[in-house]
Subunit: 226 residues, 2 copies
Amino acid sequence: MEAKQTILVVDDDKSIVELLRDFLENEGFSVKIAHDAKRALVVLEENAIHALILDIMMPGQSGFELCRQIRAESDVPILFLSARSDDIDKIRGLALGGDDYIVKTASPGEIVARVKAVLRRSHSQPKRNVIDYDRLTLDLSTREVLLDGQSVSLTPKEYDLLRLFAEHPKHVFTYEQLLERFWEGVGDKHTVRVQLSRLREKIEPNPNAPQFIKNVWGIGYCFKGE
Amino acid sequence: MEAKQTILVVDDDKSIVELLRDFLENEGFSVKIAHDAKRALVVLEENAIHALILDIMMPGQSGFELCRQIRAESDVPILFLSARSDDIDKIRGLALGGDDYIVKTASPGEIVARVKAVLRRSHSQPKRNVIDYDRLTLDLSTREVLLDGQSVSLTPKEYDLLRLFAEHPKHVFTYEQLLERFWEGVGDKHTVRVQLSRLREKIEPNPNAPQFIKNVWGIGYCFKGE
DNA sequence: CAAAAAAGTCACAAAACGATCACAACATTT
DNA sequence: AAATGTTGTGATCGTTTTGTGACTTTTTTG
């Protein structure tokens, strides 16, 4: 007794778009098409879109940039589409807010399954804006951070960093990725270290033996959520 | 049923580039051009490239060096292009990460066939980010290494070495190749031995009788994955 | 079997890396 | 404009990693 769900497919490659449209319509989805980022935003505005499939590589504005723009306003599930699966590690590292990642060579069945999976997730969990670990809690809507129930006041950069880490536990972020994301690519590893040192000072029960933000030698940092 | 694949051709010789472009476009590939290494990296960054054709001899940075740089971040198939066929023997075994080698005098048909072959190979193996042997597991995205399920902490160099070996089981790497790849060509065989000794200490169940990294007398080392 | 060459191990020093402090530059608020 | 808070840079110190030399063990060869 469900209404038809609408998926927006964004890719400049028409053959891929057609392919995906076939798969998805066969499974009972309604499909909208956009061939570039600008058009995608328009379609998104004018239709009730339940999920997006987004090509990373597109002429003009990239899928990355588009994702960021969409995320600024909406939490609609986004699936990234990439030609090469080794891109996917890089994308995960960038933590752009994609909900899943598909390789273009994936089978029709797999693609449809992934789409259904993110839809299921987004339905059952109508947006969680609190990240909760044993002792540490982030409220994403108010930017409030609690350590053992006590409010901790973080600067903007500290909070943004912590949020990225807390949203991706166990993932190793390289210095380069962090610089890319928080310092527009210009800057020094040292800057990252100092910033994280200050963050630890505030959120680590014992900053000398960090529990949450761990260093990975020669590479970068990683968040451990128990 | 497949999307257009994009090939990046890197060669300073414009006539060769044009020739290759014609061949490949005739076969339905999309072709990008770069005349030097620097430009190639930019193009690679900005486009979804499915394979590279790389001239070995180029002014400035050589094809070797470029290949190494690319391999540091990606597993995109690389075909080397050389004027003389006797160069090619030298290149093979250098373990630079090239996937095939073409002589410049090869026929259009052969070149296209080679390109298609590497593409097929790279597709059928959708690039795993976990390398799994019976007792040893590498997670390429988190750089985590497990021995019998137990986490092993490796230094950056140890991990990089292990990864190379684990990715190319049964392949014999000479001291020279290892020095070339991990020590920028400067260094001593002794350094390699010590480094591998330390690595064995950590990953070999019995370091006195190595199971994974075996020595090849007088030549170098080799990884046995059962 | 002995000598030579290659490989392995250990210990120590040099180099690279990470954490922290202090201070200056910059932005924000009042 | 002063006060306050935030962020980047330089200096310093402790830690981890890595290269080198001395020494031992193993393998090859005559």
